[in-house]
């Protein structure tokens, strides 16, 4: 059950996949697990569909974690989100409304090969694990491999660099699988949320250029309210704004692709912290990080349901 699994420690890929299988069997009223493809090394790419089953048309929110392997707090949050949803569906009116009106597609570990590698070999690995026939270096930055101003500023053409964009857009099977899935869903996906670390920021498009998105007003206000809600939990300050100005310019990333492909509300979270621990956020900080982020995500979702067209 959700209450027996320890959500306050980091889990290996195998443990996370076991957990997903377990939920699929035991929480079939609200959860269905399915695979959208295979990784470069042949691992299944599992996604959880979370929400009250309904024959009526329901919009959906896509959430992915672990695009970058070393950002372990991401997958920890994705698991936390599912746990909170299951535990509070009956008692929390906001959660009940969310799961009744929307489906949530949760991909707890996007970069399964990289995540596994960061557990077993190199804690600070970032990229996928695909091979390049001409170079000794492996891996592509899965957040530079999307077809939106691909391999422009903020990405690298060198296979040995950590921001290598890949030989062509969607070269990585993981990226292709998610892109295909989202394309197939069409207008049904109303929001895209991606979880990374670290910087304590809530970002929205664009990343690849300095420009204002057409629906800036609704997106910006949703971000403002989310950050305010997040801060109310433990007093932690997150910055928010367009990624290009708030963080740095980067091309070919998933948030920009999602926006360009018709998902009107696309956000990327950079979770705790700001450098004291960096990627090594201690397990004792999983709970406060996830609790505050949960409130931010609920806030964004409820705001989008109520206020945004």
């Amino acid at each position: 059950s959700p209450s027996e699994y320890n959500y306050e420690v980091y889990h290996s890929l195998e443990e996370i996949q076991s957990w997903m299988h377990h939920l699929n069997k035991t929480q079939s009223g609200l959860i269905r697990m399915f695979s959208i493809g295979r990784s470069y090394e042949g691992r299944p790419l599992f996604v959880l569909k979370l929400g009250r089953k309904s024959r009526a048309y329901k919009r959906a929110v896509w959430i992915d974690c672990g695009i970058h392997a070393r950002e372990w707090i991401g997958p920890a949050f994705c698991q936390w989100f599912v746990r909170e949803a299951l535990l509070t569906y009956k008692t929390d009116p906001a959660m009940r409304k969310m799961l009744n009106h929307l489906y949530f597609y949760i991909m707890p570990v996007f970069n399964v090969d990289g995540y596994h590698f960061s557990w077993t070999h190199d804690r600070f690995w970032r990229k996928t694990r695909s091979r390049n026939s001409r170079f000794r270096c492996r891996g592509v930055d899965a957040n530079r491999n999307w077809k939106v101003k691909w391999c422009d500023e903020g990405a690298s053409v060198h296979p040995c660099d950590d921001t290598y964009c890949g030989p062509f857009p969607e070269s990585e099977p993981e990226v292709k699988a998610v892109a295909n899935f989202l394309r197939k869903q069409g207008k049904r996906i109303t929001a895209y949320l991606s979880f990374h670390a670290y910087a304590q920021m809530l970002l929205y498009p664009y990343s690849y250029k300095y420009a204002t998105i057409p629906n800036f007003s609704c997106v910006e206000y949703a971000a403002y309210k989310a950050v305010k809600a997040l801060r109310s939990v433990h007093g932690v300050q997150y910055r928010y704004g367009p990624a290009s100005q708030t963080l740095y310019i980067s091309s070919g990333n998933s948030m920009d692709w999602a926006y360009k492909n018709g998902i009107p509300y696309a956000f990327a979270f950079e979770l705790r912290d700001t450098g004291h621990f960096g990627f090594l956020l201690p397990e004792m900080l999983i709970k406060p990080t996830c609790t505050e982020t949960m409130l931010a995500v609920k806030n964004i979702t409820v705001h989008l349901l109520k206020k945004c067209p």
Partner: protein, 99 residues
């Protein structure tokens, strides 16, 4: 020790170049030492006033720190020993499972 104690002595250093010259100098030394950039994610994003966090292996840290002192680039050591930080951040349960 997790990861065969591979990260013993590795440091996480924060630098903020205060001029274009300092930023260019950092880019050059980062390339030479092949550092692991934690933020920003790409050396090309490095410019004046950019907060950069870099992981440097033990055997290269002396070279980098000497360079920084010579170039008058201020730095802070965020994590003195990454292996210790890694081990301290995991619960006993997790460490036991890994073993």
């Amino acid at each position: 020790h997790p990861y065969n104690n591979h990260y013993a002595g590795d440091k996480l250093i924060r630098l903020i170049p205060r001029s274009k010259e300092q930023a260019n100098a950092l880019k050059k030394i980062y390339h030479q030492l092949q550092v692991d950039l934690w933020q920003p994610s790409s050396i090309s994003c490095l410019s004046e006033e950019t907060v950069t966090d870099v992981r440097i292996p033990q055997n290269a840290s002396r070279t980098l720190l000497a360079f920084l002192q010579e170039a008058h680039i201020q730095y802070t050591i965020l994590i003195e020993d990454l292996q210790k930080a890694l081990e301290n951040g995991s619960s006993l349960q997790t460490q036991r499972k890994r073993r």
